[in-house]
Amino acid sequence: MRELLFHIIAFKNLPLGVVGGAAIWIILLPLANFVLLGLGKKYLKNIARIFSTVLLFVATIIALNIAYHYFFIDGKVNGVYQTINVYQMHWLSFTETMHVEIGIQLDALSVMMLVVVTFISLMVHLFSLGYMKGEERYCNYFSYLGLFTFSMLGLVVATNLLQLYMCWELVGISSYLLIGFYFQKPSAVAAAKKAFIVTRFADLGLLIGILILSFNTNSFNFQTIIQTLTNTQSSSFISITASSFLGMSTLTWALVLIFIGGAGKSAMLPLHIWLPDAMEGPTPVSALIHAATMVVAGVFLVAKLFAVFAINVTALQLVAFVGIASALFAAIIACTQTDIKRVLAYSTMSQIGYMMFALGVSKYGGEEGLGYSAALFHLFTHAFFKSLLFLCAGAVIHLVHSNEMKDMGGLKKLMPITHIAFLIACLAIAGVPPFAGFFSKEEILSAAYQNNKTIYIIALITSAITAFYMFRLYFSIFWNKPHDSRLTAHHSEGTLTMKLPLIILMVCAATVGFIPFSEFLSSNNQPYHSAINIGFSILPVLLGLGGILLAGILYFKQNNKADKITNSFQVIYKAAYRKFYIDELYLFITKKIIFNCIGKPAAWFDRNIIDGCMNGIASVASFISTSIKNIQSGKVQHYTLYFFAGVAVLLMAVLYVWS
């Protein structure tokens, strides 16, 4: 502890020098924000928003500086990006050899995530300045945002699985607090509860997976685990692959369980049911937590342990399968939803599905690991355009006071900046060149093409659907019918602080695709060059444009073509609109089966059987005592009778023994 304090103050003897040492401040500043605003609500009320935004601004600058130094100056040794432990602090020791040191570990992946998290968080803080104005619990809001940013940053720089798990739970609780921010609204409270419980269920998998891995490698540290499990000669590796349970080796079990944890957080099928409901939270929160950062934690987790996943085909196939299924499934549902935030939520799920299957089809090392870089590239670009979409949606909702598409339309005149920003984000997500999404999606598709044709075809179809539903949204909001005359044009786009993040993110969404991502991030940390194949990319782009065209035909002007089509596909449409009845299935399982068949009987059994036994023993005791108390009647003749009866019994016994 003392050492740590010394380090924090003096920045001495640290890898990456002063720059890396400053990494601790990226984490401490949001924590300070949370603690100070949480405790000093009364005193900081007036400066709360400025205070937390400034803190985060500083953190973002430090993160960008670290990224610059890591990627361009110090990070690479002999052409390989290094993993650097900047801080380590003893936290808990389980046995003499198994310790947990929490700290900060910087590798290419964590540095990239640091930038994404702080940057998007800063944008959201800025946007919230205007969006949450006049809110009674303003201070709490920024305090929770601080908690979230702190735990998310702690997660991405985790040195070990326990730290990751802790931050994993903490982001869960901050998500709970922020979804349920409007705590007087029953639907928000229910959504928050649902989100936490569903992800907790998935976390059970993560927990057991962590127990298995740590037990078998005798460590929680990422580096040690990866080194032990990728060394096929080590005794740990042999024991963990040799032992099996229900036909799968222990390693496979561990990875599958860890992936379940990741799937829960990343809203993958079938653990996605919490994400659409989570849209009950304030919209900037959805942009930060449920689009750009927390929901990609599952992708981060698989990527962090990718070296281990890569040697286990079964687990990796599961990742690919779940990823592509979620991508398609969510895209279909997104076409039918009418709440704009829910459309965006399903689109998030679909895009994370892309990242997951890209990891699933990837191999380890060099150009073979294209899927790995592509997945993280998509994570990076997605963070920008999806948070932009959510912030635009926030601006629209701020103006219209409704989430429903039918209340919108023709808003392009009223909100020109939002309109352009939304359009660029839609083009990015639809994969139209030269916007960001095109490049990352392109790499994902080519990785899929190289490894698994079926996945490639489904991914192509999905990208066409994606273009369709995004432009359905775009046309319905900004074109379609003329806007509602009750909306006044005065300050329709909100304050400057609301417009500024839109503009910054718009620029990012348009340009970040040009970053040669595989030069920075690859599965074995050795940079390589990947080029876009023009011939290959024609087909997906054409499909995307086709989707846009279809959306234009149906939704550009007010008409009833869309209704006609939905009428002719009644059954499918209704099933998709009701989200394929998965919510109902869960409700059935939890309410009917778990509550009625386990909970109620357990409570009844306890009160009646077990407690009944205890009461029974008590009443037996009192029964016996009441029945034998008559013996002491005080009547001499009774005592005489007992006396002689006793003598007779004894006599008989003696005679019996004698003979």
Binding site: S93, T95, Y165, L170, Y176, I197, L207, I212, G599, K600
Partner: protein, 495 residues
């Protein structure tokens, strides 16, 4: 005489309270007494810490501050006290809860003198229990604690208080009877009541197997061992707030401590023999308690049943017999003590104001009484094992320790216990959602007053403990490690 002052101080406070005339005086005297014992324990803690650093051992014994007086020479009974790391953290826990309990009962009006006297008597007996190194003395203090509990519930309780008080007293007495038989068994095999002497004597394994169930189940009655836990829901829910805090916070720990330091430590062969049964019962308690909690509608019942589930972790950790798991069990004892006391304090505060504990009748209190509601939420989050609060550290340590047992039955028990984290989340979030969140159910709630200074102080005291353990668990672990290593050596040495 230094360590004994832990017992003497509360007794002196009792005498001082006896001479008080006004309500105000009684409060102040009791409060000063509890603050003094908090300081005393803090002082001992500091000393203990420094002694550990210098690796100073009392005559090669792991116990510090030993005092040994001949009490009843004819039967070889001594008044023998001393502390090791585990008892150290337990007395630390006790001092926190006693201070918080006195603060929370500030407003008690009827028979307040008697109330504080009983509370302080409980404190004295709990301290006495934890510092005893002679099992007869230990038993003496254990028995001493039962009667004040009975009276506290029967006089100041709510609901069906006579029934609950009687049930609690009878069941705990039954446990004591079993413990007494076990102690007699130990005495006749070793001719001593002294923990250290017994631990150095080799007891015939067959004898151990006979004595062990008496001791373990006997203490199990106190620690809510399934199926002897049924006093917990009734007792906790009928008790006044401070007594609930004490019951769940300390009294249940007497059982866990006894199971570990008497039953398991003194009878290592039998502990290994019975280990599968213990973990089966504790795994059942953990999951079954959690499911039963899910169906409760009274806040106190919710916390009482969840105590059954959480105390299952203590017994699970002990039953696993690995160093990590036992460390986890001890951390869980401390953590659960603080957390459940905080939870009961919050529920008591809510009940005092709204006059209902039914989840359905509450709602939206965060708006009306933010401080109390926040405390309620934090206590709940600690209960569901949120990292950064003590519950997480304890549970995770127990899980890691349990996973070290590779046999299939142990693994199944571990996985089932892990599954409880989901069920816990369900019942805690349900309780939070319907009692403090949502729209304000009742117009009257708007006029409620938020926590007074004494309640705030009590809550902050407990909360500080929870957060310190959650953020810096190594502090707590430093105390415990030596003692758990000693227990494990003793267990393994007897194989």
């Amino acid at each position: 005489m230094f360590l004994s002052s832990l017992v003497i101080l509360p007794l002196l406070t009792v005498i001082a309270v006896l001479f008080c005339k006004e309500l105000k005086q009684i409060r102040v005297v009791a409060f000063v007494g509890s603050v003094l014992q908090l300081f005393l324990v803090t002082y001992i803690t500091m000393g203990f810490k420094i002694v550990s650093v210098f690796n100073f051992k009392n005559n090669g014994s792991i116990f510090l501050l030993e005092e040994n007086y001949n009490w009843f020479p004819f039967l070889n009974i001594h008044y023998h006290v001393g502390i090791d790391g585990i008892s150290m953290v337990m007395i630390l826990l006790t001092s926190f809860i006693v201070a918080a309990g006195v603060l929370i009962s500030w407003k008690i009006k009827e028979l307040s003198k008697e109330f504080f006297i009983l509370l302080l008597l409980l404190a004295a007996s709990a301290y006495g229990f934890f510092i005893s190194l002679d099992i007869f003395t230990m038993f003496f203090f254990l028995e001493l604690a039962v009667i004040p509990k009975f009276l506290l519930i029967a006089i100041w309780g709510s609901g069906k208080k006579e029934y609950s008080a009687m049930k609690l007293a009878l069941m705990l007495m039954a446990g004591s009877a079993l413990i007494f038989v076990g102690i007699m068994g130990l005495y006749y095999s070793t001719h001593s009541f002294d923990l250290q002497i017994i631990s150095q004597t080799i007891i015939n394994p067959e004898t151990q197997k006979i004595i062990f169930p008496f001791l373990f189940i006997g203490f199990g009655f106190f620690a809510a061992l399934f199926p002897f836990h049924t006093w917990v829901p009734d007792g906790h829910s009928s008790a006044p707030t401070a007594a609930s805090m004490f019951l769940a916070g300390i009294s249940m720990k007497l059982g866990g401590y006894g199971c570990l330091k008497v039953a398991t430590y003194l009878l290592p062969v039998a502990a290994q023999y019975y280990s599968p049964y213990i973990i089966a019962l504790s795994a059942i308690a953990i999951l079954y308690g959690a499911f039963a909690t899910m169906m409760q509608t009274d806040l106190k019942y919710i916390n009482a049943y969840s105590s059954v589930s959480h105390c299952g972790f203590v017994l699970l950790g002990i039953g696993m017999l690995t160093q990590t798991a036992i460390t986890g069990a001890v951390i869980q004892m401390v953590s659960h003590g603080l957390m459940t006391a905080l939870f009961f304090a919050a529920i008591g505060m809510l009940y005092e104001r709204t006059h209902t504990r039914q989840v359905k009748e509450l709602g939206g209190l965060l708006k009306a009484i933010p401080f109390i509601s926040t405390i309620f939420i934090i206590a709940g989050l600690c209960s569901l094992g949120l990292p950064g609060l003590s519950g997480f550290v304890a549970e995770f340590t127990v899980f890691v320790g349990s996973w070290q047992r590779v046999e299939t039955t142990y693994r199944i028990a571990t996985v089932l216990s892990c599954a409880s984290i989901v069920v816990t989340a369900v019942y805690i979030l349900r309780a939070i959602a319907s009692s403090v969140l949502g729209p304000l159910k009742n117009e009257h709630f708007f006029n409620l007053k938020d926590a007074a200074w004494n309640e705030k102080l009590a809550a902050v005291l407990l909360l500080a403990g929870i957060i310190i353990i959650g953020v810096m668990p190594y502090l707590l672990q430093n105390f415990i490690t030596d003692s758990t290593v000693n227990i494990i050596h003793h267990l393994n040495g007897s194989k």
